[in-house]
Symmetry: C2
Subunit: 464 residues, 2 copies
């Protein structure tokens, strides 16, 4: 069992709930929009506010870390148990842009509580989910009678996640020694829905490239030359068409090398989720589901690697017509990667494959962007089981498992620190990330506090 009496945690949270929510609201009032230069000062104010709040919470160390962009916050609270494992919490204090005229019912930067929800930009993504760790660690101490956490606790809360984390990997590398941890807890995701608490076990990786094809030295007349020279727009289309076979599998040789296939247990666990394809299609605003044969929609988006066209272009795209053979065309491809795939290998495979597709008379150039590796924690990993137990105690329910189809800076921490990445999030799809009327469900937020309160004891036991 656990070293934290669950009722003591609940009592502590009840007592401090009002002050906690007031503090969160104060933080949400700082419009820390990293994408808008006019809010640079607000992003800095947000970092300073958080740093001060973490000191007030009891973290002996709380610092603002500079980057070439927006500042991050680092905090550390060593355990008095020298053998305790070290855990690093990741989140971000910057938010998406928001304006009343986008369709908000109240000022996005003047949070209000309505019907058990707090509305405001950042309420769920990600200030609310960072902030539950402050009351969480206090409840952990109060309920256990400890003066320091059961783990060496570290927090790294970045300030540029909503701008693509351009400086995050360099920051992690620069401070790798101080960030060293036995496990990383990412609190920047969510759970299945209001009544289905889940733990996310991984994210897909990402490799991206732009492929440019060059045909005639300039646009040439399709009357004079049409039908007798290779057309780069046709070539790019054939290349895209050749990317998948009739079963929706990626045809690039070597693409599936090393892919961790879903186990029967994993598939069974996915199937336990109350997935409704009609609802999902409504969210996707798509008229049909389609993809790799032999896999369900959830398997396709969480556990299978993909190749997707993000953009394609060439020749005349304006109104009316223009009878040309275009001189060039391009396609932007992204490959979602799963455990077992390495971006460098994928890049090599795609380059070799693309080269073989290019017809005579067409030249090409491929440019790859920096990649993100996939991360996946096995279901039997002790740290994952600790997170699941902590959540189970807070929610009093069986915890199911999800994954994320996207990719995130968490993978950089996995790479740089060599530590497994776990996810603890209580946000739900209805929270409206990046949308008007973003909110957090207060009941779930406090379950997040409660989970966090249980987590350090569970992890200390699991990782010892």
């Amino acid at each position: 069992m656990s070293d934290t009496p669950d009722s003591a945690v609940r009592m502590y949270i009840d007592t401090h709930r009002a002050a906690f929510l007031e503090d969160l609201a104060a933080w949400l009032r700082i419009p820390s929009v990293s994408a808008q230069p006019e809010h640079d000062g607000d992003v800095r104010a947000s970092a300073e506010w958080l740093s001060a709040k973490l000191k007030e919470t009891g973290f002996p160390v709380a610092e603002v870390w500079e980057t070439p962009g927006a500042p991050a916050v680092f905090a550390e609270w060593p355990s008095d148990d020298p053998d305790a494992p070290t855990v690093l919490v990741y989140g971000h204090h910057d938010v998406q842009p928001a304006a009343l005229e986008d369709g908000w019912h109240t000022d996005p930067f003047d949070p209000v509580i309505r019907d058990g929800r707090m509305y405001g930009r950042g309420a769920a993504d990600d200030k609310g989910q960072v902030f539950f760790h402050t009351l969480g660690v206090r409840a952990h101490l109060a309920a256990t009678g400890r003066s320091t956490p059961a783990v060496h606790l570290k927090l790294l809360i970045e300030g540029e996640e909503e701008s693509g984390s351009p400086n995050f990997r360099a920051l992690a590398e620069q401070h790798a020694a101080r960030l060293a941890a036995d496990a990383v807890i990412v609190s920047d995701t969510g759970m299945w829905d209001e009544t289905t608490p889940t733990v996310c076990t991984g994210m897909r990786g990402l490799a991206e490239c732009e492929l440019q094809l060059y045909g005639p030295g300039q646009d040439i007349h399709s009357g004079s030359f049409g039908g007798a020279v290779p057309n780069p727009a046709t070539a790019v289309a054939r290349l895209v068409a050749a990317l998948h076979d009739a079963d929706g599998r990626v045809t690039v040789p070597g693409f599936y090398d090393g892919v961790a296939e879903l186990t029967d247990t994993e598939r069974a666990l996915f199937a336990e989720l109350p997935f409704d394809e009609t609802t999902w299609l409504r969210t996707a605003r798509s008229g049909a589901a389609s993809g790799e044969a032999g896999y369900s929609t959830l398997e396709r988006i969480w556990a299978r690697p993909t190749a997707e066209v993000n953009g394609i272009g060439g020749g005349y795209q304006g109104a009316g017509s223009k009878t040309i053979i275009p001189s060039s065309a391009l396609v932007k491809l992204s490959f979602r990667l799963v455990a077992g795939q390495h971006p460098d290998h994928i890049e090599q495979c795609v380059r070799t494959w693309a080269e073989a597709q290019i017809p005579p008379g067409i030249r090409h150039r491929i440019t790859f962007s920096p990649a993100t590796r996939p991360c996946l924690t096995p279901l039997d990993h002790p740290a994952l089981q600790a997170v699941t137990r902590a959540m189970g105690r807070a929610f009093g329910k069986k915890i199911l498992f999800t994954r994320e189809g996207g990719s995130g800076p968490a993978a950089d921490l996995q790479d740089v620190l060599g530590a497994p990445v776990l996810f603890l999030g209580i946000s739900v799809p209805s929270d409206g990330w990046h949308a008007p009327d973003e909110k957090v469900e207060l009941d779930l937020l406090l379950k997040g506090v409660e989970t966090a309160a249980h987590l350090w004891g569970e992890l200390a036991a699991a990782l010892r």
Copy 2:
């Protein structure tokens, strides 16, 4: 033989050559650029100049015809032989834009003669080739002693060809009765090269469409949804890839219905032309020739129907990357048509084919632009033989046959008037149509005059 003593024609041309070139230079000084509104007055001045010059030449009727855009010029010179056939000459008096800073060695609108060439915008396309008919008809009369041409001669010289002839078909329909003719002579093309006089026997037709594909209701995240919903950029690529088979043949069912296959004679005549693929590829600025299997390059561009991508687009095409599944994609296709194909049938075939290509979850819309029909005069047509004989007398050489891969307003005259279209042009590829330093070879220009002088007698005999 002919009713025009060839030496008399030559003597007449020699005598009037200087004045003829001075007149042409005066016309070239009028910058009749139809695409630039600031030159609207110049286009009108050009029409008025030409109309006055045609009256001076002897045409009893010479009128400026208004259109919703730039004015055209119509002139008529009836034969005193009531049984003479009627022939309509087509050309245009507007020119492409030109500016010294584009790379001209002399002012494009202040023509100069250098090394036996007249340099100036419109020298070849198309004022020079319209103008040779003025001295041509005078030489015809002088050499034959006639007071009226051997045919009922009509001219229609439009003012918007370089702007896509937007009002030409309506103009032809409006004046169909006055334009009625037994044959149309288009003087707006060229011949193979300086030493290879040729007669063009036809132009390909053109059907154009834009196909738009719609997927998700908005751009959606490729991490959250990638691999599980249909992507319209992928769909458009597959559609384009499916447009041709491995032999480069268009796969659209019905596309080749009625296509006039090349006869052995036609292929043999094409093969007589001094075609050099390396030189041709340099002109195309293409690294390779490719196309429908079983046909030479000339056959592909002149005598085979094609499907070509003029533009393709969808999703993110800017710098860097954007991890989206785009909500829509488009492709602009053009189909070059040959004799025997009808644009309406092609449109129906393409619509049916495209519909069958669209995967579930993707909606589509196809829009066709107004089409141009192909025109081709059979090698044994008496009018074509008359043009060839007239040219042979002027050049003193065997005349070979070419075609045009492009499409032109001439096809509208064929449709509206129901008359065969013949081509008489003396311009050569080095003349630089639409480019800096456009010029006309004076020797060839005067051969054009000479051909025109022989043509009316030849046609009168052939069409009687």
